[in-house]
Symmetry: C2
Subunit: 229 residues, 2 copies
DNA sequence: GATATGGTGATCGTATACGATATCGTACTT
DNA sequence: AAGTACGATATCGTATACGATCACCATATC
């Protein structure tokens, strides 16, 4: 029996990704294959495979004959990701809606209650984790695997970006919790897919708006995209 | 000077993808790394990298210690891809809309005219190629690279699927050309993004509907998703 | 002082070799 | 005859080695 059931390539992938998401490797950090391999105790080949995969998923950039660096994370990139998520998560939630049962709603409502508590104790870290859990309940039933995959990628990317760029926007979290409750009400009442999609999109767009409103006007002017439409 | 400027890994990727899209490797075909490497004149390492990349993009399936096969292409997969495209292409087109100028419209209209001719001479191959060109004009201006990338992947996937599963649906092509003209009118008149998105979605959904209507009622019942909403 | 040029080192790209694993056929047992 | 155990073979997974390429810096030249 090998030490782990997964291949070294996959373990390398998970380990590096973990470090990026957790902030162990900050954006701009130079990833040298040989060094990574030594740290992990593997050869460079599986490490290289892991790095290429992470590149394909947008976590790192890779230049031929030069090397890899943890992906840069400018505000534009954050906007791109949020906008993409608003679209694919909106669709995933709409497609999930008919498959969401009362027990799912109840669970989501419990999570949302816990988020409300986090507001009072000011625990943004737990708040963020619960936020993912809440939305997972809403979109995980999406029967289209491609769309679900895109949603997962978006959340991953967001996590990578947030750890370094995202500043907690004071008033926003409270609004977010309220919007969650409104979303649950829609689902309970069997709202049609189009309405659910719009609400899910608007929810994310509102977060983005709050982020943009935080910046100076000139920063906002540089944003090339309207956050929602 | 090397024979090509691209790395062997990339050339292998392009070559294998080409063969899949062109029908040289049909679905279910067993891809053996060593054999591919020999055929290409490369070593297995870059070939392996290419294969993993194609796997990530959905063109082939890969099982550990077993091997790779060209991705299976059942009707459900076609439906997933069409549904995903209706969403991301709709968004891409809506985001492109404000950036599309008169010269783009004119070009698209020319392409559409050529498609109309294809109908009369019954040239489905050229029709399909022109169809991509038409839609490219509509979505290529999309300023969000993530969304654009998802659209490209969808089209690629569709091309791979179509070469083996898609049967030309008789009446549909004519409708499609008419819908194209309607889309162009919307863009010319500066329709708002929401309207454009709905039209682009509906256009693709109509193609999917035509495909589904072609099958027996029992086949349709097995489809797990509503094509549009 | 600025720019061009060559050398040097770090890092990636690929080839080859070998070990690990799954699959399939065959023989044996019940 | 059916099922199971076992071994042979094909194929993948990883390690190691070396060649190729690029960035950097020192030096020379204008």
């Amino acid at each position: 029996m090998s030490p782990e059931t997964a291949s070294k390539s996959e373990r390398a992938y998970a380990a590096i990704k973990e470090k990026i998401l957790g902030g162990g490797y900050t954006p701009g950090y130079r990833l040298v294959l040989a060094k990574l391999a030594e740290d992990l105790g593997f050869s460079v080949v599986p490490v290289r495979e892991a790095v290429r995969r992470l590149e394909a998923e947008g976590f790192i950039t890779f230049e031929r004959n030069v090397g890899a660096t943890v992906a840069g994370i400018d505000p534009t990139e954050y906007l791109y990701t949020m906008q993409t998520l608003s679209i694919v998560e909106g669709a995933a939630t709409a497609l999930s809606a008919p498959l969401i049962g009362p027990e799912d709603i109840a669970r989501a409502r419990g999570v949302n209650a816990a988020m409300r508590e986090c507001l009072e104790h000011f625990d943004p870290v737990r708040f963020t984790a619960l936020n993912l859990e809440f939305h997972s309940v809403l979109f995980e039933n999406c029967p289209n695997p491609h769309i679900l995959d895109m949603v997962h990628r978006g959340w991953n990317r967001l996590q990578a970006l947030r750890s370094s760029t995202f500043n907690y926007v004071p008033g926003r979290a409270k609004e977010s919790v309220a919007e969650h409750e409104a979303l649950l009400k829609l689902l309970e009442n069997g709202a049609d897919a189009d309405t659910v999609e719009r609400a899910a999109r608007a929810h994310r767009a509102a977060t983005l708006d709050a982020y943009l409103a935080r910046g100076t006007p000139e920063q906002q002017a540089r944003m090339p995209l309207s956050p929602t439409y």
